[in-house]
Amino acid sequence: MVKPRHHDMGGSKAGAIEIVEHNYEMWEKRVDAIIKALSSENPPLLSTDELRRGIEELGPGIYDDLNYYERWITSATNILLEKGCFTVKELGETMSVIQKRWLKNGRKLK
């Protein structure tokens, strides 16, 4: 039997939508700015359609675990890797540097 992909939720059973005001955290604003910068290149380094495709490909588990901007940055990272904008090694090393700086400043990891 064919089933809709996880993101294709139209018509699924759901409760009421919870509408709440939400203050954006600094990292969420940064993600927004990064995506805008990438998509404003001509041709764009990352198009809306690529970003959405990357989010759809996250699949049921991760899709539900991540929040909105976490999905954005995860998708953008995967697509830039596909395009060879940076290597897996470079990404790992940069993440490690930032993580150390983060912990040194007394912050905790999620």
């Binding site: 064919v2 809709p4 992909r5 294709d8 139209g10 018509g11 198009s47 359609d49 690529e50 959405r52 495709r53 759809e56 697509i79 596909e82 395009k83």
Partner: protein, 96 residues
Amino acid sequence: MNKAKYVKGDKIKISSLFPPGHVRTPFFIRGKNGIIDYFWGTYPNPEELAYGREGVPGHPLYKVKFKQFDLWENYEGSPQDSLSIDIYENWLEPIK
């Protein structure tokens, strides 16, 4: 650029296809009948743009109107209730 094949009032069926990939045609309307309500213009194909390609030639995009009654089993609302969704021409099939 592809020339628009349909005009307002044409009866169409949404293709009953279920590929992976970046698809802008929601699952719940596939295989359903609708009517062309408006022609929006021709746009690069998002199914191609999603993979970093240029999406040319562009595809005509229409507002397609469905009867809610045709979409949902045991629909309890008015038979007049409708739903409009923007669909690219490559997902439309003519109904004679």
